[in-house]
Structure formats: C-alpha cells, structure tokens
C-alpha cells in the first residue's frame, strides 16, 4: 500500500512559467517475480498509475510497470495557467488509491 506522499513545487511561480513538479511516494513496487523464503511466489503489487490534475484538468498521466523502482519518484513539467491546486492520485494493483493535494503559490 502506498503511503507518505511527497510533492515538491517551486515556492512561487508566475503565470506562463514552466515549473517542475516532483512526486515521491512510499511503495514496495513488488514485481511478482520474487519468492519468499518458503519458495512461494510473492504476488505482484505495484503502483500502476499516477494521475495528476490541476484544478479539474488532467495535466499528467503515468502508466507504470514493474521496471520502475520501489518508492516511485516521478517528475514532470507544467506551464502555469494560473493559481490552483494539484491533485495527485497513485493507484496500485490492489486498487488502493492514495490522493494528495498541493496548492501552487502563483504571484
């Protein structure tokens, strides 16, 4: 299960700026190829999706496979349309959804 979401935004931004949005979440990203000490396969459980919205508009969408490291870090860019709030949603194979919001300080 995903936990401890962390979002890094610039302290302030102006309309029209292109900013970097950094996201990090704690998750084991179990590949499904490993076995426990009794030889029983550990079922796959990864975050397969990260969806970022700004206001109600989707600005970034990632589809992840088991080739992404544990505790997935993903950063992307966004052109600032105005003040608003980001909403990030991480969804894992068990359907567990973790949502975090972050406000963008627009000057």
């Amino acid at each position: 299960m995903a936990s401890n979401p962390r979002i890094k935004l610039p302290d302030q931004a102006a309309i029209g700026d292109v900013i970097e949005v950094k996201t990090l979440v704690t998750h084991v990203m179990e590949t499904g190829n490993r076995k426990d000490k009794d030889g029983v396969p550990i079922p796959r459980n990864i975050i397969n999706k990260l969806i970022a919205k700004f206001g109600d508009v989707e600005v970034f969408h990632a589809e992840l496979g088991p080739g992404i490291s544990a505790n997935p870090y993903i950063s992307f860019q966004m052109k600032v349309p105005g003040p608003g709030v980001f909403e990030f949603a991480w969804i894992d194979d068990q359907g567990v959804k973790l949502v975090e919001t972050a406000a963008l300080n627009v000057v």
Binding site: V18, T31, V59, F60, P66, G67, S69, F76, Q77
Partner: protein, 165 residues
C-alpha cells in the same frame, strides 16, 4: 622427529601450484571469452521487448535525434537507475509530444513506463528511477502530435542487477 626437507617441500608446492594452475587455466580462459562477448556483442533482446517495440511503432519508422535520454553508462545498483527524458518540442497545440514510453531489452517485463503529456506541460521532460535486471539497452520512444515517432537507445552496464524486476 621429522626433518623438513626443503627439496621435498619445493617439489610438493610445485605440484600444488601446477595443479591449481591447470584447474584455473580454463576458468580464466572462459572469463576472458565472456568479457570479450560482453564488450563486443550487442545485448540480447527479449522476445517480449521485440513484441512491445513492434506494437508501439505500429509499422512506423522511428526518427532519430529528438530525444535526449540521461542515463548512467554504468549503473552500480540496478534497483535505482535515474533516468531523465527530454524531447525537443515546442509543446504547442499544433506540435507537441503525446506520450513518452520506456522499454527495457533485458528485464522480465519489457514495458517500464508510459507518460502521457499534452501542451499543458509546456516542456516535454520527465524524470524517474528505473530497475535494470542486467546490462542491456534502454529504448525511449516519443509519440508526437503529427504521428511521428522518435526513438533513442541507450546502453547501460549494470554491476548489480535489480533483483528480479
């Protein structure tokens, strides 16, 4: 009391050394051969990778040179390999990047990630960290709004493979 006879000792150690040498020689030889193949031959690509690549390209011939992929040439830990992808695109409504795909030629699962972008992003640049099970080629494809697909291939040598990605 036993007297150590130097000539006997010498003979014994000579025999031991010779035997050890004889045992090690083929090992050394095969190690050199392995090192040579790793240096010269391209990395073997999994059938899954070839299928994924074919599906993504969908018959299109990829162009070259529009993506900059920042990946280390040598990765000590295959569990955490930082990757930065930048596509040279104005990111306007008329000309932008729709998606960036990462494929690995040597992981058990070839599809690493797909990132969907739009003109709202302003710049086509995505960063993440990936797993590499062994030394291999990492292929990054970008789908542009005009239907063009641009591709970049990077070879990464991995010292310690990401555990069973």
């Amino acid at each position: 009391m036993k007297v150590l006879r130097p000539e006997l000792l010498n003979r014994r150690s000579f025999i031991i050394t010779a035997a050890a040498g004889a045992c090690l020689a083929p090992l050394l030889k095969s190690a050199t051969a392995l090192a040579q193949t790793a240096d010269t031959a391209p990395f073997e690509r999994t059938p899954l990778f070839e299928t994924e690549l074919k599906t993504l390209l969908a018959g299109a011939v990829p162009t070259d040179g529009k993506i900059t992929v920042d990946l280390p040439e040598m990765a000590e830990n295959g569990n955490f390999v930082p990757i930065t992808m930048t596509v040279d695109s104005p990111m306007t409504d008329a000309d932008h990047v729709r998606a960036i795909h990462i494929l690995s030629s040597g992981n058990p699962v070839a599809h690493v990630a797909t990132f969907r972008l739009s003109p709202l992003n302003g710049r086509a640049r995505v960063q993440s960290r990936m797993r590499l099970a062994r030394s291999q080629d990492v292929v990054v494809l970008a789908e542009l709004s005009n239907g063009e697909i641009t591709m970049s291939t990077m070879t990464v040598k991995v010292t310690l493979g990401g555990c069973q990605t």
